[in-house]
């Protein structure tokens, strides 16, 4: 699993470097302020990491895992809301460089999360400790993306 994390990390590292370079080169860079729902989504994802950890250790694992799954789904819904908010403000994939990175990076993150949710639902066949690594990684990755996309200026 750690190897897989390394590979996924490289994907995001490559895209981060593209972001850094693109931002540095562009004289007309306009920054989009962080949408409020991004914080809510972060909270949802962190909560889901918490429920996963509790579920791993508890005899009543199933309900905690269901909670994790539901929180993950809520996160996905939250992301769609984030996209809708951006679109309503007229910010689409090709509107600005910042927007294009926001859409791309959140979409890739979301795809990986959906994959994780599918695997969580097989939890009887896959070792929970291994899924946990992946899940927490995605939570950390989301925080990282928020910092890179919105905090750094």
């Amino acid at each position: 699993m750690w190897f897989a994390i390394a590979a996924i990390l490289m994907l995001f590292v490559g895209l981060t470097s593209a972001y850094v370079v693109r931002r540095g080169l562009d004289p007309n860079w306009t920054s989009i302020p962080i949408p409020g729902v991004a914080f809510a989504n972060a909270a949802l994802l962190l909560a889901s990491s918490f429920t996963l950890e509790v579920g791993r250790r508890s005899p009543a694992a199933r309900r905690w895992l269901v909670a994790t799954w539901i929180l993950g789904l809520a996160f996905a819904a939250g992301q769609l809301t984030l996209w809708r908010q951006l679109a309503e403000e007229g910010l689409h994939l090709n509107t600005s460089a910042h927007a294009s990175f926001i859409y791309l990076l959140t979409a890739l993150h979301g795809l990986h999360l959906l994959g994780g949710m599918i695997v969580v639902s097989w939890q009887s066949r896959v070792d929970l400790a291994v899924i946990a690594i992946y899940w927490h990684f995605l939570g950390g990755l989301w925080i990282y993306l928020l910092v890179v996309l919105f905090a750094w200026s």
Binding site: A7, L9, L25, D26, A97, S100
Partner: protein, 574 residues
């Protein structure tokens, strides 16, 4: 699922997956060679008409000689198919899948289902690439390096850059995923599934080669995927990752702005340089293994060989700028990349010394696998020294984008790495199929190919030194290029003969499966674990009995032993 489908098509047995990969790369190399023949026809006789070819591919000729755009599409697909579907599959996913588990004493890979998936994903990628080859509007013409803006602008920048280029990107993206699954398997299996006694420093060098290659692939392919996604978005999403403002193409003003073509080059070559080491590292492992076996001597300085794999692997990540000295990148960055490139040549040289030292005072048996491995050493030196030359930016100013570079990478990738595949095939064929390949056919093929590829690629150095530029559909337009035409004709004829000689190898493979001399368990008197099991091996490799390893992998000519080789499973003093 019916028995046949489960046993042969969708098998999770690593041996079947390995053979599937080898067959895929065989199909790919035949396509790649056909494309190169077409290229050489055009280069040698650019103004000629070819009625037979025209009947097969009318769009390529449009009533006259072969069009330049058709040449460029052949060239693009040749490079792409050879690098991805031959050099990144056969040495690693082909032989590695088959022999890594056996050589460490495991029953199968750590994730057999993932392994099967990785093959089918790679096959899918190949299918999409074939679709790109035959796409309406033509195959892409932007080279295997696919630099934007050319590759990002679509049809208005040239034929094949619409659908063809799009399919190309999709195929590459799919390939990246397949490669990821392979890497995960190789790394996990090597670390977790070794048999009792098989410590890391007692693994054959082939396993170390596959292990480090898998690390390279794990970390490099995602960056290519990232680049491909960005390029795709620039093409269909209206983004401007690579497209700057103010482009005028075919009299149209392109609306994108703010992007950087150099960004693609950085991302691509960050992947691209480790990629070429992915192509060669397994070959180095195979060469060490075979040179040792057929010199009846241990590999000289085994630990240094392992360290060299890691050094090459690590340094390969910090040399990518040597593809970009005159790209517009800062000249000072060029200095840094030049020094790091010189550094990566050092462990490669160490390996070469060690192969020679392994042969020194050996008892060399010139069976066909050894012939090819000797060929590998020769080509590795020939191609390697021109790499050292190109690492000097001052020299690169003149030689960049000339045939000198084409000679360099063909000798290293298209010849040395392929010779390692030939060597591995002859060496492991008895184990895989229970029969020996024909030694006499092997020797004929070896000589024809050895002489043939030197005849093809040595003259290219002279083409380059004379200023002969690559990716040119013909040399007729420039006074400084026209005198070089006889070299092109010579090269093309050498290429046709050498390509024809490969039929001997193909025939040898397929004929020997049925008619080769039956092989025993250990026809080469080799020491590693694959030579302790039947030929071909049973489904779970070791027939339920986990091997126990008592010694290192290269105990040849141990003083005091009754035989000049001791299997890894044999007890006694180490």
């Amino acid at each position: 699922m019916s028995g046949f489908l489960r046993r042969y098509l969708f098998s999770t047995d690593h041996k079947v997956v390995g053979i599937q990969y080898l067959l895929l790369s065989l199909a790919a190399v035949l396509v790649g060679i056909a494309l190169s023949i077409i290229m050489r026809i055009r280069l040698a006789w650019p103004q000629e008409k070819w009625p037979i070819l025209e009947r097969l591919m009318p769009a390529a000729f449009a009533g006259g000689p072969m069009t330049p755009e058709f040449y460029l599409s052949m060239m693009t697909m040749h490079g792409t198919i050879m690098i991805f579907f031959v050099l990144s599959t056969a040495p690693l996913s082909g032989f590695g899948n088959y022999f890594l588990p056996i050589q460490i004493g495991a029953r199968d890979m750590a994730f057999p289902v993932l392994n099967m998936l990785s093959f089918w994903i790679t096959l899918l990628a190949f299918g999409v690439m074939m679709a790109a080859l035959f796409a309406t509007g033509g195959a892409p013409i932007a080279g295997w390096t696919s630099y934007p803006p050319l590759s990002a602008l679509g049809e208005i920048a040239g034929p094949g850059l619409g659908l063809g280029q799009g399919l190309w990107i999709v195929s590459i993206a799919i390939f990246c995923v397949g490669s990821l699954f392979t890497s995960l398997n190789f790394l996990t299996t090597t670390l977790n599934l070794r048999a009792r006694g098989m410590s890391l420093l007692w693994m054959p060098l082939t396993v170390w080669a596959w292990f480090t290659t898998a690390i390279l692939a794990l970390l490099a392919f995602p960056v290519l995927l990232a680049a491909g996604l960005l390029l795709l978005l620039d093409r269909i999403g209206g983004t401007s990752y690579f497209l700057p403002a103010g482009l005028i193409v075919s009299d149209q003003l392109i609306p994108n702005q703010g992007g950087s073509p150099l960004l693609w080059q950085h991302l691509f070559w960050f992947f691209g340089h480790p990629e070429v080491y992915i192509a060669i590292l397994p070959g180095m492992g195979i060469t060490s293994h075979i040179v040792s076996t057929f010199s009846r001597k241990p590999v000289f300085a085994y630990k240094a060989m392992v360290a060299a794999f890691f050094a090459i692997g690590f340094i390969s990540y910090i040399v990518w700028g040597h593809h970009m000295f005159i790209s517009g990148m800062s000249p000072y960055a060029g200095i840094a990349f030049s020094i790091s490139t010189m550094a990566v040549a050092v462990p490669s040289a160490v390996k070469t010394f060690n192969w020679l030292a392994t042969m020194w005072r050996g008892q060399i048996r010139l069976a066909t696998p050894m012939l090819y491995s000797i060929g590998f050493v020769s080509f590795f030196v020939s191609g390697g020294v021109t790499g050292v030359m190109l690492a000097m930016p001052s020299v690169d100013i003149f030689l960049h984008d000339t045939y000198f570079v084409v000679a360099h990478f063909h000798i290293i990738m298209g010849v040395a790495a392929i010779f390692a595949v030939f060597a591995g095939t002859h060496f492991w064929f008895p184990k895989m199929f229970g029969r020996m390949m024909s030694e006499s056919l092997g020797k004929v093929h070896f000589w024809l190919t050895l002489a043939g590829v030197y005849a093809i690629f040595m003259p290219m150095h002279f083409l380059g030194i004379s200023g002969g530029l690559r990716r040119y559909a013909e040399f007729t337009e420039f006074a400084f290029l026209r005198p070089l035409q006889p070299l092109h004709v010579f090269i093309s004829i050498a290429a046709f003969v050498t390509a024809a000689a490969q039929i001997i190898f193909l025939f040898n493979c397929f004929w020997s499966i049925r008619n080769g001399r039956r092989a025993g368990v250990n026809p080469w008197e080799a020491t590693s674990l694959e030579w302790t099991i039947p030929s071909p091996p049973p489904h779970d490799n070791f027939a339920g009995v986990e091997p126990v390893v008592h010694r290192g992998p290269y105990d040849y000519s141990v003083p005091g032993a009754s035989r000049d080789y001791l299997m890894q499973t044999e007890g006694g003093p180490e």
